[in-house]
Symmetry: C2
Subunit: 474 residues, 2 copies
Amino acid sequence: MNAPDIPAHPSSACAARPVPEALLQALAQRFGAQCSTAMAVREQHGQVEGSIQAPPPSAVVFAESTRDVADAVRLAGDHGVPVIPYAAGSSLEGHLLAVQGGISIDVNRMNRVLAIHADDLTITVQPGITRKAVNDAVKDTGLFFPIDPGADASIGGMAATRASGTNAVRYGTMRDNVLALEVVTAGGEVIRTGTHARKSSAGYDLTRLMVGSEGTLGIFTEVTLRLYPLPEAVSAAICSFPSIEAAVRTVIQTIQLGVPIARVELIDANTVRGVNAYSKLGLREEPMLLMEFHGSPASVKEQAEMVQELASGHGGTDFEWASTPEERTRLWTARHNAYFAAINTRPGCTPIATDACVPISRLADALLDCVAEADASGIPYFLVGHVGDGNFHFGYLIHPDHPEERARAEQLNRQLVERALRLGGTCTGEHGIGVHKMDFLLQEAGLGGVAMMRSIKQALDPGNILNPGKIFTL
Amino acid sequence: MNAPDIPAHPSSACAARPVPEALLQALAQRFGAQCSTAMAVREQHGQVEGSIQAPPPSAVVFAESTRDVADAVRLAGDHGVPVIPYAAGSSLEGHLLAVQGGISIDVNRMNRVLAIHADDLTITVQPGITRKAVNDAVKDTGLFFPIDPGADASIGGMAATRASGTNAVRYGTMRDNVLALEVVTAGGEVIRTGTHARKSSAGYDLTRLMVGSEGTLGIFTEVTLRLYPLPEAVSAAICSFPSIEAAVRTVIQTIQLGVPIARVELIDANTVRGVNAYSKLGLREEPMLLMEFHGSPASVKEQAEMVQELASGHGGTDFEWASTPEERTRLWTARHNAYFAAINTRPGCTPIATDACVPISRLADALLDCVAEADASGIPYFLVGHVGDGNFHFGYLIHPDHPEERARAEQLNRQLVERALRLGGTCTGEHGIGVHKMDFLLQEAGLGGVAMMRSIKQALDPGNILNPGKIFTL
């Protein structure tokens, strides 16, 4: 009830635990060529990132089956050595760093589709498959999988970080779209969570507990996802606004009216400039909304008219339509490349990405204050947002050799997160906690909430071998 | 990976733990008139139900605040005595039985609305408020709360059992609609889970872990719910079919086509007969779908036309429309009263309710086999279903003085659940496990899954005082 004092957490990069030679020998014996201790392979699986220093993992196991994962976990567990699941490597919060040493379990070879149940709108896959590959696999069924983080991330990683993306405003996040899991536990056992039914009241919701647990409670070896019928009609449009506030007020009203918009993305003028240069688009260099409407032809038309009317009331331009699939793909590819496009505006820079999410009514306030602070800092930045969810990302483009720029960017991020928390929001909408946001989690969930998470972790992984030093320290 | 042998679970009604006089005195001192040990009050809070015998709780605390709940939990915990949260008392699986003795914490007086954030489409309430009272509270905001189990259940109880109802096919269940909680832990501490943001990747999803935990991990003292804009247009229709199969095939196609139908309820001919007698409706006594469409006027028309076409293809009659709010209310009241109506068809009977849920593609097979078995049993029964979710309820109407009828009904339920599990479904779509489905949960989640649930329980409630003997035994 009372705001607790937040203690400084000890560095998660505490002592790297020793990886005994006996474990490396046992792995070599069990896995042969599926196990590598080559430095190049190890470094690829545990890049030093940002301000956190960590050694690479001592070995990488290329798992090809659930059995492989279970055996690797069991062998590591026998020696008290951490295991870190790895797939696309696109996580942003240091989830893959071997901050306490250990071995990496690479599941990229576990990338098969195990079953498509088109009649039930579900697909069961191995964790190493990427989101684009899932959509390729179902493209003849009339169904699609909507969750689209910027990168072509793996489904296992997306489940582990509770990822979302541009479609979440209509289709939800990984929380809503993972129906069932197969999980290797800390003891190397294999359990199943959830069923193929759409809903259930059968005991604790282990699926939802696992989704977002960042590899700290189990390693996913199968994931059953919800699919959706491809909408009969799809229209995408862009609309420019005189200010970020005008764009955001349009979004807020859209959500409050219950318009079932499928995507509504904000990009600021800085980002538009980057996108124009990178993707060769001639967009008006003003704050802009990218929108997509799904439904029947009549419903799409109706939704678009409603949002156009709201936009006009805030000084938005007429919609420019991307009606053909090719134009739409071009537009959304540009949006997904916005991150790289923006980075290109400051050659050689390092981006520091933020990821707060606030209640929709507070979005304009949150954004405007963050923009003012970013402008005042003098650090180049860009702003994009899944604004229908209240989720936004500033990217601060710092010079890697200027530590004071990093310090200023981290200060901006701190102010941004603390503002989001004051407004009833969260420190991370979709990237996760990893090693970078442990202090923020304490502020958000409180000592009691984090203590509960720790208790669960200790109960399910008493040896603390599953991706230790992430989310919280023990 | 391998199907485990399922051991018989020990009766949850094992030893009732002693409730020391010192605890009763401490409660009397702390709570005065808010604490009762009168037998009538105790019996009302722990009715003997079905085949499970349990004593009433030794005392009932009428909590009026979070502080009251925390203090009651702490006092009980000091003596190792169980606490059982109580509100509307409408649960169906014996959740409220004091199978190991203990005290009841009645939260009916905690029934206030704490905040309505209409702009964010959320409401924060105390746990004792009922779903109808929530809708009364927001009726001037243009918003509504869609989750509607049959009873006018409390929000706390609905969250604790992960309840749903007729609108879940479009609006989800309590899993999807609880955004944040305030929870009193086993230690009597108060924590908050979740935020007011629509999505988050901040650590373990404690909100989803708590939702559906049936009072075994914490007692809810505040619940923040999602609200939805009242649809611009609403139309309800009924359609009769020559067979259950024809009705169900219509529903399956509707879902597979992605029609955003808001409600689609099956009632069988037995139920129609009961409803006609009870609610004075002149419905055709054939299997029937009750449907509701939400959206803009054009979208509602479009959805209805699409489903009418599917229904016609399966021999459905023309839709009969309930277009005015009064007609709609009459229809849905009849649906919500179907349970009582059906019971009335066998005066003096006791209903045994089932609650399985299967993947939608298997719904017809599941229902037809269950109908055949029920018909062969000779026991009067009725069938209703939230069939858009694959969730259905048989009610077997047994004579309370004929134990062999109970045995036959329980055998039917067992066959029904095991069939649902074989088809990839769940033993409970919305009622929970309670004391009645512990064996089924073992079959569904496996020994490993239930072991994980037990570990979590032991970590968060080491004294096993929070509603013990529910979901699983320790």
